[in-house]
């Protein structure tokens, strides 16, 4: 059976792995690592789909899914980093400044940057340190990012954010 990748379902899984609502004990370290990674992928897929949808506004869902496969982690990270504090190219100062003044776009961008970094640690760094509150803080921010993107994605600022990501995205032979 075909089931598309739904960011909200990934958030639910990340919460389960992180032990949301658990009354006692601590989740296994392995579960905390998978929770961080799953929360990251929720935000990644949310932004990839939103970028593809913005680039192809009249496309079918199947076409959007196809284009979303070309939206790379590095493309989103580069643009999110501009909004989160990295110096953008000079001629993007104005639009990045506008996006930085939008609290919803700023939070989505910062959440992506933080999650991407901690996802790398969760998946590859044997010495990385994860706590349950710290992990669930990341998942809670991921949940807010997905909700903000779903609710505000049609706004001018989010559309500009997706436009910059689309410009960073190149269609290879994948």
């Amino acid at each position: 059976m075909q089931r598309d990748i739904r960011p909200v379902w990934l958030i639910r899984l990340a919460e389960e792995l992180g032990g949301v609502g658990a009354t006692q004990g601590q989740p296994r370290n392995t579960d905390l690592r998978r929770s961080v990674s799953t929360g990251y992928y929720a935000v990644f897929h949310c932004l990839a789909l939103a970028t593809a949808g913005a680039a192809l506004p009249n496309a079918t869902l199947e076409e959007v899914f196809g284009l979303a496969r070309h939206v790379s982690h590095s493309s989103i990270k580069q643009v999110a980093a501009y909004v989160a504090g990295n110096q953008p190219p000079k001629h993007l100062d104005s639009v990045v400044g506008r996006l930085r003044s939008n609290s919803a776009v700023s939070s989505v961008a910062a959440t992506f940057v933080d999650l991407q970094e901690q996802r790398e640690e969760a998946d590859y760094n044997h010495l990385a340190d994860f706590t349950r509150p710290g992990t669930l803080a990341l998942v809670a921010r991921a949940k807010r990012a997905v909700k903000s993107t779903d609710q505000g994605g049609a706004s001018d600022d989010f559309q500009a954010f997706f436009g910059l990501i689309a410009l960073r995205t190149s269609i290879g032979r994948a």
Partner: protein, 108 residues
């Protein structure tokens, strides 16, 4: 940690640490701020600010995400004002460090 503490570093990172330790965002009041330098996942030398917070309130799994986002935004604006080199990252951890369970080896 019983009172606010700040790790010792120089320059804008030090200024940002001191500033962070004095912040309040909604329910968040940093207890301590540790800062260290390391390579990030791209191999770029980066600043890591770990903010120690009081344990989440009884019945809460973690801290308020809106407050965390607010603190993140304010920190970005302060880092830009101080011209702190990018990249830098914020981490949050509780005052009480409890080792997650990994109770036994799985059956082989």
């Amino acid at each position: 940690m019983s009172e606010r503490s700040v790790a010792m570093v120089d320059g804008p990172a030090s200024e940002l640490s001191v500033w962070l330790a004095a912040q309040a965002a909604g329910s968040l009041r940093p207890i301590g701020v540790d800062v260290h330098r390391d390579q990030d996942s791209s191999g770029v030398e980066s600043w890591y600010f770990t903010i120690v917070l009081a344990d989440p309130a009884a019945g809460s799994d973690t801290w308020d995400a809106q407050d965390l986002d607010e603190l993140q935004r304010r920190t970005r604006d302060k880092a830009l004002e101080l011209q702190l080199d990018w990249p830098w990252y914020l981490r949050f951890r509780p005052e009480t460090d409890t080792e997650p369970e990994e109770p036994s080896e799985p059956d082989s």
